[in-house]
């Protein structure tokens, strides 16, 4: 633990350092705790989920097969009146009294007050919630829809935004400034402001209940055009000139010179686009009303709104929904955080 004391090049931590670490540790608990709690809960059996107070780790109550009973019986540790403890299986419970048997001697019923028994448990990370959830909830359908939307929309966004950015940064043409200003002006128009007319346009185009209605409209992001244009401005014009002299077509210049040089900015935009699309909620909510077309977010929300809320399944599905984005973050986190810090977009 030498390195901790090295912080200020002095030999020890001063009070403000300790305060800083305390704050950061508290923050870590508050930021990660809720997610960790979700993950832990998702492994718990339904009976454990309604337990109060809840336990941190998922537990499973031991059961035992007793002669004369078809189903396995739950096992308890019972404190008898003489003070000794025995492991007994519970046959049934009547009010505050439990009828129990000794697995070794199944004939004799022992009546025990329920406060005198504690379940015999072991830590158990069960996948039952996940398996049942994936079957009951059309997870793979929603997952497939989300993947299609995210991949197709990101590819389309990168293509048309970079084409537009190329035109806006490397050509002089009538209307260029007007188009650029329009892009800047609408940088601020969120979907929430144009909900009704967007619904009309989608309906007119015939994209209601069509994944295209989720993929295409958001692809022309002003943010992406702006980001890529600013980046392309730094590419020297001479490069394009000399390619033209060599006889390259404009399209070839775009694909073979501009795109490779714009890779850092394209990568940032790609990561953001993936994040936007995977987490997108309002747009698919409006466009899609048929269950088999739902994305994960819309599907998960409608699943939790059903009358009989089955938390064990919801928790498992929530974990599966946050998993892909967590993995992306795990691999690209440094890139994402510096990308946001330098571009200021999210």
């Amino acid at each position: 633990m030498n390195f901790i004391t090295r912080t200020r090049g002095r030999g020890r931590l001063d009070n403000s350092d300790i305060l800083t670490y305390l704050y950061l540790l508290l923050g870590t608990v508050l930021m990660f705790g809720p997610v960790l709690w979700l993950v832990m809960s998702s492994f718990k059996e339904p009976a454990q989920l309604v337990r109060f107070p809840p336990t941190f780790l998922p537990y499973h109550q031991e059961t035992v097969t007793v002669e004369g009973h078809d189903a396995p019986l739950p096992l308890f540790e019972v404190t008898l009146e003489d003070g000794s403890t025995r492991q007994l299986a519970q046959v049934r419970r009547v009010g505050i009294q439990a009828q129990m048997v000794d697995p070794a001697n199944p004939e004799e019923i022992i009546k025990v007050n329920i406060n005198q028994r504690t379940p015999v448990e072991r830590v158990y990370f069960g996948l039952e919630n996940y398996i049942e959830g994936v079957n009951r909830f059309p997870f793979w359908t929603y997952f497939r829809n989300s993947v299609i939307v995210t991949v197709a929309a990101t590819a389309l966004t990168l293509l048309i935004n970079s084409m537009a950015a190329f035109a806006l940064s490397k050509y002089r043409f009538r209307g260029r400034d007007a188009i650029f200003l329009l892009t800047l002006a609408t940088l601020m128009v969120p979907l929430s402001v144009i909900l009704v007319p967007v619904f009309l346009v989608i309906t007119q185009v015939g994209w209601n209940n069509n994944l295209l209605g989720v993929i295409v409209p958001g692809a022309a992001t002003p943010t992406g055009v702006f980001l890529l244009r600013q980046y392309m401005l730094t590419i020297p014009d001479e490069l394009i000139e000399s390619a033209r002299i060599d006889g390259a077509s404009e399209w070839r210049i775009y694909l073979q010179i501009i795109l490779p040089l714009t890779r850092p900015a394209l990568a940032v935009l790609a990561i953001f686009s993936i994040m936007w699309r995977w987490n997108d909620f309002l747009w698919p909510l409006i466009v899609l009303s048929r269950n088999e077309l739902f994305t994960l977010q819309v599907g998960l929300n409608s699943f939790q709104g059903e009358l009989q809320v089955q938390w064990n399944l919801i928790l498992a599905m929530t974990v599966l929904t946050l998993l892909p984005i967590t993995l992306v973050f795990g691999f690209l986190q440094r890139y994402i955080t510096t990308g946001i810090a330098t571009t200021g977009l999210k």
Binding site: M31, F166, T183, Q304, G305, I340, G344, L345
Partner: protein, 349 residues
Amino acid sequence: MNQVQAKPTPKAPPAAVRRSLEGVGSGLLHFILNATEQIMVPIQRRIGVQRMAYVFVLPNLLIFGVFILLPMLLNFYYAFTGGTNLFPQDRPFVGFDNFQRLFTCQDFFQPNTCLEDRFARSMVNTAVFVTSQVALVVLISLITALALNRKIVARGLFRSVFFYPVLLSPVVVALIWKWILQQDGLLNALIVSLGGDRVSFLTSGDWARFWVVIISVWSTMGFYTLILLAGLQSIPAELYEASSIDGASAWTAFRRITMPLLMPTMMVVLVLSVIRAVQIFDVVFAFTGGGPGTATLYLVQYIYNTAFTNLTNLYGLASAASVVLAFFLVVFTLLQLRLGGTTSDVADA
């Protein structure tokens, strides 16, 4: 790719991204290049080099025009027409009726005396939410950014920890907290273990409003922290060295160096968070659905409900409310531009 390597690239992409792009690139790129050039070269021959710009700008412009620009204009049309028909040709012109309906109140300080009391309620709720959420998120982000800017071990790790919730989808965030706040949830267990009584966080209006603010701060503060941290790191270290040589205390350095130089970034964060907060929707929609009653009904959900969930389909009224929302957004955006932030800072807010 010879031309590319001849010139120094402005900034090298990370190796992993570069490798994967190149691997897929060479084969696929040549195929795409040759296939698409068959179409593009004849076009270029017809219209000339300079006009190729229109070809490049067209796909983006088309989608942009149809799905952003046109709806923006149509929104005004809707706001001044009535009826429940979606198609514009079947909608009668009603002038300012929709706006009048939104703003008819006997007493503007009492939402329940308003004709459209749900709108009034959503406006009040949004105002209260924006004020409290923005104040809290700016304060906590600033403290966190200051902490992260110190010479600490594992700064990158801590930075990621605070940022992680930003990436979670609103539905996931809502479910995580719903699970913690339910009757038999973690928080109630903590309260009971400390000797308190269980609280019905989700069925009490005041508690629901309170938690919407907390959840929203939890899930967005990492973003503002990053922006503020970038601002802090752009302050030259020499200034602090000079001030410590002059014998200034840490507090003085903070007041005289950090605060003034961080002000522009603070302004960006302030306006950005206001613009975001005004549009709060998805997380609340999944968390409380606007309830209990209208306790967490905010402006965007009022618009959504009015247009899409009520059997009435009052598109005109919803659009009029959208115009009101747009008005606030424009005001805040202009404010932001006046205060000197770049436009990209407010992108996709």
